[in-house]
């Protein structure tokens, strides 16, 4: 089964995204912070990733995004604050989906982005 990495510090959103992945026939691994996401990347081969940008306590998804980029795994950024991380987000050149949004749309955006990148 194709696996999606979900990096999201808010459990309700993470679970909702996980279900939305399952609706599309995808498996999902959720991580609440950068460390968990990095560990998950060592343990699994991911097909794609959904990254929340601001993870609380000043932590951002930057390190995970860079690792995904190096591994050529497509990802989308799922964020409620487009202004604050502006420069770093733009440099990532990944699709940005503004929160709040429908979890199904996030997954669909990831899939169509992944299809373009591959």
């Amino acid at each position: 089964m194709k696996l999606i990495l979900i990096l999201e510090d808010e459990p309700f959103i993470a679970i909702d995204l996980k279900y939305a992945c399952e609706d599309e026939g995808l498996g999902a691994v959720t991580a609440g912070n950068v460390r968990q996401a990095m560990t998950a990347m060592d343990e699994h081969r991911f097909f794609g990733a959904i990254l929340d940008v601001n993870l609380g306590n000043g932590e951002t998804c930057r390190e995970v995004a860079e690792e995904l980029r190096d591994r050529r795994i497509p990802f989308v950024l799922n964020t409620g604050d487009l202004n604050r991380s502006g420069e770093f987000l733009r440099a990532m050149r990944a699709p940005i989906i503004a929160k709040p949004n429908a979890s199904a749309d996030v997954v669909r955006t990831l899939l169509s982005h992944g299809a373009k990148v591959r």
Binding site: E10, F12, Y19, G80, D81, N83, K99, P100, A102, S103
Partner: protein, 354 residues
Amino acid sequence: MSDNTQPASRQAHYNSQGLGPGERGNFAGSSGLLFEQAMAQTRMAVCLTDPSQKDDPIVFCNEAFEKLTGYTLGEIIGRNCRFLQGPLTNQDEVGRIRTALREESVAVVELLNYRKDGSTFWNALHLGPIYDEDGSLKYFFGSQWDVSDVYAARAEERHAKEMAREVSHRLKNVFAVIGGIVNITGRAMNAREVSNRINDRVQALGRSYEPTLDEAFLGTIEVGQAVRAVLRPYDPEGDRIAFIGNGVRTEPNAISAIGLALHELATNASKYGALTSDAGRVEVSWRHEHDRHGRGSLVILWKESGGPPVAGPPGAGGTGFKIADALLSHSHGGLDRQWEPDGLRAEIRFPLTH
């Protein structure tokens, strides 16, 4: 000022050989006299430095300079301007001063300076070279203006914006979490169709508040931003819905009802109306209207065209309009719908309280 009312110590003393420490310059001739008087009266702090001397010392300053810095003339003359700097002075700005001095160019820098008593002020320093009649560099001119008030106002505005942004971020997150809870509950209770419809409305509401929050400190919101945010998901390519009415601002309390009414109209158009076919278009316009009693309303017109022929009001899908009707009539507004053959015409009316 017909006679010399300046105290002797304020007399400017100037000669081409430069000035001794502690002396005001004496600028010769009638233009020199005007210069002295202007310098004595201006509230702008002014100094001249002599780059031909070691370490470019101040050779002239006016009374306003003494007042601004808290130093006396004797303490100022002969020192390099950097004696006004302190630990929190931005060294990048100081670097710009150095560059200007080196390149003999004009510069305006803003930097934190320190008075004699240790208190600080924001100094808008304007500096530039002064040449003699032969065109060789004679002095550097520096005018200092205390812009601490400007800084405080800017800081306050920045703070207000930061706060609005933070609140906006948190509220968006709350809407996202509510969406997650509704979806998860819907799955758990095998009621996904209902939970999806609840969630669509919650998310439409969340979108309609986006511009409100980002501009919360202004007190009013731009209608166009809210309208666009609500309708964004229904026109992903941005070529189906036309927006007319830029610049109209309204009260934030209008937003919930208008946001939900637009959401219902767009949902209806996606299911039965103009947004079901590629040729279909929607025009949304908004304006303020006043009746003969001077009471104002925000009016939003919704006009569909190019969709499938309309036979009449659709039988199903009435729940959403019931919600919008209830919300709007609570505020003594309304949502009128007319099913014209070429598409739905709707008018959302929301009375303004101010």
